[in-house]
């Protein structure tokens, strides 16, 4: 469904309307609140809403606009939802876990500081798999999030709440975090744009750590232009994150209009021909053909071993090893509830055993095993060596192609409950998004059509390190061609 004057309001449109007096931050916010109140009871995207705080903020912005004392803020009056593992001062930050029930963030994450400086209005925190561990958002300790395109299906994960909030037109933009695909996969399953910037270009300060060498904050939006706009705001050096990369100012929207015929676009069978689901495969093949028709040079990379069958094992060993260490801070002493015990060690074990959910406990044990004496070299070290092989394979691929395209997810949105009891099957959902994560590459998912059942399919565009601008440019060019800009779920249109 294409939306023009219906549910979809672009961030740039909101910004222009407010600045030129055609609208106010308050009226934009009230529209967003109405949508949340009407649709979220059936979607379950939000864990916490702060409408009063958002109203105060919007009215402050309106006063500044009236006085003429507001600078040209790129996200002026744009309502934004935040995944509930990114700290917003004074708001809950549960990470979808009982372990952090009642916790309120004592400080702002770096990205939140940047959004507020840019004039954004924060409406609330969105649901996620517990500690961002999952691919369906079913691992949240608090609620199930439903896919706005089909309420009986998952929105993907782990940033499923953010993807669903955008797909249902509740907010034009949202932030998520991506460790092995947690932005791109839900973006694909919910039919919105999701972008994982190059590792290190967006500060992780204030993001609750899952796997520190993989975690990356990034945006969701209903158009590539909106995603480019917010990406320019959140990228940048931050001394509080030791892995932060100084890229200098990035004006992604200004760089979007590149000539597609200048681009060499790599295609690999593992990400296209090898896709088992015919609905997904057809959409991706048609997308590649349309890029070819538009003058892009398609380069087959089939002779390079992209190591696809090793992606899930290597990623899950690295990620769970890091998680077993990162999550040791959750012991019931400094935040969240605590299980009473007379000895410290019993209090730790009791609290963690009771308050962590099943998937988190499974991953902590897996990571503890991979790091333990006698197994470290065979599992953790081996996985890091394989990670190097992934990086080498991409170096070879990017010597012949400027960008790589393929499917984001091997399957469209699946029914709630279908995979949640089978961890290995669930892990396979990430098989196409994991390789760019292991190599720290910029990668986006952009809607590329629907399966015969009407479920959205995403096209993944991946670039070399710091090739974020090129990734967004190709996603933009594709979006212009496909006409899927501002594509939202039918429920969003019905709520207009």
């Amino acid at each position: 469904m294409k939306h023009g004057e219906g549910a979809f309001r672009s961030a740039s449109g909101i910004h222009d309307d407010i600045l030129q007096g055609r609208s106010t931050a308050t009226s934009v916010l009230e529209d967003s609140i109405r949508r949340i109140e009407r649709l979220d009871p059936s979607v379950g995207a939000f864990l916490h809403c702060d409408f009063e705080g958002a109203r105060t903020r919007a009215s402050d912005l309106d006063r500044l606009v009236k006085k003429g004392s507001v600078e040209d803020l790129p996200l002026l009056g744009v309502p934004i939802a935040i995944k509930d593992n990114i700290c917003v001062k004074g708001m809950p930050n549960t990470c979808g876990s009982r372990m952090l029930e009642g916790f309120r963030a004592p400080y702002q994450a770096h990205v939140i500081e940047r959004l507020l400086e840019a004039g954004a209005v924060l409406v609330g925190k969105t649901n996620l798999d517990e500690f961002a561990m999952g691919s369906s958002t079913e691992n949240s300790a608090f609620q199930v999030t439903h896919n706005p395109h089909d309420l009986e299906r998952v929105p993907g994960g782990s940033s499923g709440g953010s993807a669903a909030a955008v797909a249902a037109g509740m907010v034009p933009l949202a932030l998520g975090s991506d460790t092995g695909g947690s932005i791109r996969q839900p973006a694909a399953l919910c039919g919105v744009v999701g972008f994982k910037p190059t590792y290190g270009t967006v500060s992780r300060y204030g993001l609750v750590a899952f796997a520190s060498s993989l975690d990356q904050i990034g945006p969701f939006g209903a158009s590539v232009l909106d995603v480019a706009r917010i990406s320019s705001v959140i990228v940048g050096k931050d001394h509080r994150d030791s892995t932060s990369v100084d890229t200098g100012p990035r004006d992604f929207p200004a760089a979007l209009s590149r000539d597609i015929s200048e681009m060499r676009i790599g295609v690999h069978r593992d990400h296209v021909d090898g896709i088992q689901d015919p609905g997904v495969r057809n959409c991706v093949e048609t997308s590649i053909q349309s890029l070819r028709d538009a003058g892009a040079r398609i380069v087959r990379l089939d002779d390079i071993d992209l190591l696809s069958k090793y992606a899930v094992p290597s990623y899950y060993i690295v990620a769970t090893s890091e998680a077993s260490s990162n999550l040791s801070r959750f012991d019931g002493m400094r935040f969240g509830p605590r299980e009473t015990a007379s000895a410290l060690r019993d209090a730790y074990s009791g609290t963690r055993g009771k308050l962590f959910g099943e998937e988190v406990r499974r991953r902590i044990l897996l990571g503890t095993f991979a790091l333990s004496s006698g197994y470290h070299d065979a599992y953790y070290r081996k996985a890091l060596q394989v990670r190097r092989l992934f990086m080498n394979a991409y170096t070879e691929a990017f010597s012949r192609a400027d960008l790589i395209v393929g499917a984001t997810s091997p399957v469209p949105a699946f029914p709630l409950g279908q995979k949640v009891k089978d961890p290995l099957t669930m892990y396979q959902c990430d098989v196409l998004t994991i390789p760019p994560s292991l190599a720290g590459l910029p990668s986006a998912s952009v809607p590329c059509g629907n399966t015969p059942d009407g479920l959205p399919v995403g096209l993944q565009v991946t670039g070399p390190p710091l090739g974020d601008s090129s990734v967004l440019s190709l996603a933009f060019a594709f979006e212009q061609q496909s006409g899927l800009q501002g594509y939202l779920a039918p429920m969003a249109e019905n709520a207009s």
């Binding site: 400080y107 000895a343 055993g353 044990l365 961890p423």
Partner: protein, 93 residues
């Protein structure tokens, strides 16, 4: 992965797990690790491990004291707080 191994891992990870759940977890982890053993077929001799995706050295900040303005907020998040201190169970027997 047998019950004893799960028990040892749970102790290392400070996770209280009842025996029935531990047994189920052991079966699941065995199945996952069997699948992950596919990595062993790759020759990684002389391949340097890549603990992070970017090969740059972590910068060091200047060693100087910084003030913190969120002590009260941190205390408010603690489950047990007594006169400015976070209360914990007995540490020394």
């Amino acid at each position: 992965m047998d019950d004893r191994t799960i028990d040892a891992l749970a102790r290392l990870a400070r996770l209280e797990i009842d025996p029935k759940t531990g047994h189920q977890l052991g079966e699941q982890l065995t199945s996952i690790l069997n699948h992950f053993d596919i990595l062993q077929e790759l020759n990684t001799e002389d391949v340097a491990p890549a603990p992070r995706p970017l090969d740059h050295e972590a910068p060091r900040r200047e060693d100087k004291p910084l003030s913190s303005d969120c002590i009260d907020a941190l205390r408010n998040n603690a489950p047990l707080d007594d006169e400015g201190h976070i209360e914990v169970p007995r540490v020394i027997e």
